[in-house]
């Protein structure tokens, strides 16, 4: 297996863009990545696109060649990957495996979602299709309510408090306020976070990520060729994808995500590092409880300690291991199909020391965790300075 490097990244702002269509967002991110990596479209040998629900959100299918040809990428394999909110994390995993295995040398991986042209109720309905539509979703659940049930059980089993959940929202909003590309650049107080309108008890509006439009892209090459393109390559040290049940009620214990643990353990092993070595992370905070559980499942803290870990500020930008310096899905935004590669973009910015006001001092080893549904897919990627 060959070592792989990221040589170029690009991203649109995340937000609500009524004048932009899906393809124009993906093309903007792709063109930025080409420019950033000093690569011409004709050099791309394979294209992967992560997208969750283009057909439902905007009525367009066959999205990979629809986007790649608009980028001037002609004739090569163009493949769409769907894995709910982990669609582009999974696309990144598959793009990486092509380069690592030697099938192709120069691969573009992108992710895109255009969500804001639909009502919130319609968006909830479409997102619900990532759950088990023959059971849990038929009962009237939403993704917020599934994660609310996870939060309730976590609170019951470990004494996690509402204040712990809200602390995640306060932190990620503080980070997002420093990110010029974030959907919501608004600092909030703990009191505001605690008293927002209920969505699914115990989760309120500030416990939920945003409904956003956006796209992100990255270009992968063998590490040995990386310096042909850039003097700032970033190395893929470890990466793994894992899976689990789609329906929550099939799991023995809903306060932990086996797919996160499995992907994390494999990625750590590949990178030859342990959780304590990870200096910073972009974690999948689709809901505040998800970030808390991710810090436990990835071994940053023990089971049940994720709530206090966040509340005590240890994951703040100035804490011992900053989590979601981008603002996370909570404040940066969550165009679901773009989120996985968006996280890669954020790690690369920190590692290259290009994160502006969000730049952290220890930034040479970062981890991204991209979760699909209520834990049925997880991709964990560890990046480091090359």
């Amino acid at each position: 297996m060959r070592d792989v490097a990221v040589i170029g990244v690009g991203k649109t702002s995340f937000g609500a863009f009524p004048d932009r269509d899906l393809r124009s967002l993906a093309v903007e991110a792709g063109e930025k990545a080409l420019k950033n990596g000093h690569v011409a479209p004709s050099q791309i040998e394979s294209f992967y696109l992560g997208n969750f629900a283009g057909p439902s959100f905007v009525g367009q299918n066959h999205l990979a060649p629809y986007v790649s040809t608009a980028l001037g990428i002609q004739g090569v394999p163009a493949t769409r990957i769907e894995a709910a909110c982990a669609s582009s994390g999974s696309a990144f995993f598959h793009g990486w495996s092509e380069v690592a295995s030697g099938v192709n040398d120069i691969v573009m991986v992108a992710g895109v979602e255009k969500m804001t042209s639909q009502t919130t109720a319609r968006v909830s309905q479409i997102l619900a299709e990532a759950g088990d539509c023959s059971g849990e979703m038929r009962a009237g659940n939403t993704f917020a309510s599934l994660f609310a049930m996870i939060a309730r059980r976590h609170m019951h089993d470990f004494g996690t408090k509402k204040e712990h959940l809200s602390a995640v929202a306060v932190k990620n909003h503080a980070n997002g306020a420093l990110n010029p590309d974030a959907h919501m650049r608004k600092v909030i107080t703990l009191e505001q976070a605690l008293n927002a309108k209920p969505i699914a008890e115990p989760l309120n509006l500030y416990d939920c990520s945003l409904i956003s439009d956006g796209a992100a892209a990255a270009i992968l090459v063998p590490l040995e060729r990386a310096r042909e393109f850039t003097d700032k390559p970033v190395r893929v040290l470890g990466i793994a994808q894992a899976s689990d049940y789609v329906a929550l009620d099939q799991k023995d214990d809903i306060t932990t995500f086996p797919a996160v643990r499995r992907a994390g353990e494999k990625a750590y092993r590949m990178a030859g590092v342990s959780p304590k070595d990870i200096q910073f992370a972009e974690l999948h905070d689709c809901f505040t409880i998800a970030e808390i559980i991710a810090t436990e499942d990835l071994g940053f803290v023990a089971r049940g300690e994720g709530g206090p870990y966040a509340f005590e500020g240890r994951t703040a930008r100035t804490g011992e291991r900053p989590v979601n310096t981008s603002g996370g899905l909570k404040a940066k935004g969550h165009p679901v199909g773009a989120t996985g590669v968006g996280q890669i973009f954020d790690l690369v910015q920190q590692i290259r020391c290009e994160a502006g006001g969000r730049q952290i001092p220890r930034h040479s080893l970062g981890l991204a965790q991209n979760l699909g549904g209520s834990g049925a897919t997880c991709v964990v990627t560890i990046l480091g300075a090359a």
Partner: protein, 68 residues
Amino acid sequence: MRTGTVYTETVIYSAPEAFVNEVPYQTAIVALDGGGKVTGRIVGDRVQIDDRVVEVEERDGVPFFQRK
């Protein structure tokens, strides 16, 4: 009818399209006495984790439970 214990629950205020006229409503995962878990709706009084419940009807494949 099936009986069980509430494993977890939530009350939903923001519903998907098909359920917007029913908010707020409670859903739960129930650990069945016969083994396994099932996701259903709660009717009557609100329930909490560890409450005992009994299935009172099934609509469109969805079990409806009530506090026992």
